[in-house]
Amino acid sequence: MIAGLPRGAFLRSTLLRTALVWAFVRATVAGASAGLAAAGLDADVGPASAIPVLLVVVAVVVGDQYRRGEVPFLRNLGVGPVGMLLPAIGLGVALELLLLAPRAF
């Protein structure tokens, strides 16, 4: 059985950090590709960018949980590494779908 973060401040804070990091990464990618396009280079950011963006977002969010000393408590709550990854992956995938889905149709 995999235990996720319990509802409440810990889950909320992880989701908020995920959203912020995702927005920052996406803004950076958009800025960089606009810059490349202005320089006349082909820099279309298609659906293929979703995977690296998600990897970065999840790594930053989980890294932050370690950095801020949340792990000893989470482990005592029964939340293992997979449980810690779930909220960031879940919200990250949802945000990527929202962003990329309109282009697919």
Binding site: A3, R7, G8, A9, F10, R68, R75
Partner: protein
């Protein structure tokens, strides 16, 4: 048999690079009793406790939890089955309030009213403070308030007395005693010899990569080598 105990680590070996910290060390947690690991700095007490609860992988040795054997343990899994591990720095997340720790615990384990635990640990005044603004002793009260609330079946606490003023130890002792009386198997460690000898039922001596189960605190005090090599001459119970 160690495997009959709720938590046991048997014949554990662990090296860090060329440093052989543990060669054949064992510990077991007995229901209803407080067992305490004592030993010189660097003798491997923390290493052995972390291996026992699944926070570190042993090089060799056997681990048991709840009658089952395993090559390695995982703390989240043991925690869901009723164990709590409190490392020396406590278990609190510094950026979250005291209240959100109790709420998270309530939600993870479906626990009832936290008021008695909050009361016993004297935490009302700090409930809405983030843990990072609390003093070391106050943080320790939060950690053990959470232990009191969770009521684990096995509690492993590394150096729970470190940094606590003598007067502030009594409430902690009460939490440990209370849990043990309810059948919890408690394992601790530390250097506050007199307090720990008073608190404990069983003394385990960690020395030279191995462990010696000395029996009751009284028996430990009568162990000439333990007295000579760890306690020193000044320590007595009465």
């Amino acid at each position: 048999m160690p495997s009959d105990y709720p938590l046991a680590a048997e014949g554990i070996g662990k090296s860090f690079g060329s440093l052989d910290v543990l060669k054949s060390a064992s510990m077991w947690a007995e229901p209803g009793r407080i067992s305490t690991l004592m030993g010189r700095n660097g003798s491997g007490k923390t290493t052995l406790l972390r291996i026992a609860v699944g926070e570190l992988r042993p090089d060799y040795g056997a681990l048991h939890f709840g009658g089952r054997s395993a090559d390695r343990h995982s703390l989240p899994k043991l925690a869901r089955a009723g164990l709590m591990f409190v490392p020396q720095r406590g278990i609190c997340a510094p950026h979250f309030t005291v209240r959100s720790h109790f709420r998270a615990m309530a939600s993870a384990y479906d626990l009832g009213d936290p008021a008695p635990a909050i009361d016993a640990a004297r935490l009302e005044a700090f409930l809405d403070e983030p843990v990072r603004v609390l003093s070391g002793g106050e943080r320790s009260r939060v950690s053990f308030g959470l232990v009191h609330y969770r009521r684990p079946t096995v509690l492993v606490a590394d150096e729970p007395l470190a940094g606590l003023a003598p007067k502030d130890r009594d409430p902690l002792f009460r939490v440990f005693r209370d849990l043990a009386e309810a059948g919890c198997a408690v394992v601790t460690s530390g250097h506050d010899a007199i307090d720990l000898l008073r608190l404990s039922d069983v003394i385990i001596w960690s020395v030279a990569g191995t462990t010696h189960h000395l029996g009751s605190p009284r028996e430990a005090l009568e162990h000439a080598q333990f007295r000579r090599e760890y306690l020193g001459p000044g320590v007595r119970l009465d």
